[in-house]
Subunit: 203 residues, 2 copies
């Protein structure tokens, strides 16, 4: 137990030392090597030169980017999607979102498409809200988030029995779910609170 504590304390000291160096010194990437090509992600390892005197290896995940949308109904409610997330092994409540078709696709186009595919509504009134970087420590994923108003039922509207995973909530209900820990998805938390900050009524 004591040995474990000493080991941990040493690890922390070393990390603190390294961090101070990172913060004040030069960091330079010497090379980037593809280690594994996944279905949607590529795993690289970067060899970084620190302060010109030693190297470390950092993980880097390449992602093509995504877009998300806060769909606002006529009554001012927000359409949310419930879906199973394999990475968390549970269902989550999220704003509609999806990956770009390919690198370089405009976020607005992707957001329009995802809105229609996931909710059965389309909109000609999409407005940029915020841009997010989901995990700056190791991944380049960028998500552009839009607000969609004047929702129009789409030709691609799902059948009634397929609507089970889509539900409208007031922003107050959604804020409660964020502060109770029911909603944890970072793009959803960011987007809902940004929407409320920008457009919400204040007490």
């Amino acid at each position: 137990m004591l040995l474990l504590e000493i080991t941990m304390a040493l690890k922390r000291r070393i990390r603190l030392f390294e961090r101070r160096r990172f913060m004040s010194e030069q960091i330079k990437r010497l090379k980037r090597e593809l280690k594994f090509k996944g279905t949607i992600l590529d795993f690289y390892q970067d060899t970084m030169e620190i302060n010109g005197d030693h190297t470390v290896v950092w993980d880097f995940i390449s992602h093509k980017g995504a877009a998300a949308v806060v769909p606002v109904t006529e009554e001012g409610k927000i359409l949310m999607v419930r879906q199973y997330r394999n990475a968390l092994e549970r269902y989550t409540l999220e704003i509609p979102a999806g990956a770009l078709d390919e690198v370089g696709e405009p976020g607005l186009e992707c957001a329009s498409r995802e809105l229609e595919e996931e909710t059965g509504y389309r909109s000609e009134k999409l407005e940029w809200l915020i841009t997010l970087r989901t995990t700056v420590a190791f991944c380049n994923e960028k998500i552009e988030v839009f607000v969609a108003r004047d929702l129009i039922p789409s030709k691609q509207n799902l059948d009634e029995d397929e609507f089970i995973d889509l539900k409208a909530y007031t922003i107050e209900e959604l804020k409660e779910k964020i502060f109770s820990g029911e909603i944890e998805d970072a793009k959803t938390v960011s987007a809902l609170l940004a929407y409320d900050t920008k457009y919400g009524k204040r007490a």
Copy 2:
């Protein structure tokens, strides 16, 4: 150009079809295989059975988790860290944060340590604010976010010339930076807006 458009339209139709199935049908993980072990991340591929009749392969990144902290000074300003992010190839402005020492370390302990290491202040008044999942589509990373008050200069306080990357901002300044696109880091956007929603003065 026409061929490209047809290809894209077909891709979309197939994806829409697949998505409707995912949303309403059964998803079951048949196996998880480690494909590459990185420095801080492990890359897996999961074979998923969809509706009992066919399989797809999904990427899964395992991360041990992290904690972050919104450090509030006596004047009500927030301490922010500027650091170089290799994944984005630029500097970012973020709240202090860092990975757990090991799976299972309490988020509160990690947040206390990161606060001290990154700002040179410690606090005995840390309070849970929100919990985030950074990238639910492919990674299990969880970040617990705390608010720290009554900051006490620490023994580990950095030297004056090492403070260059630390700066205090008002929440109004930080909100402007979110809506101008200067701050994009999702944990930072979520945490600052959650702090403002919960504790901020409303107009």
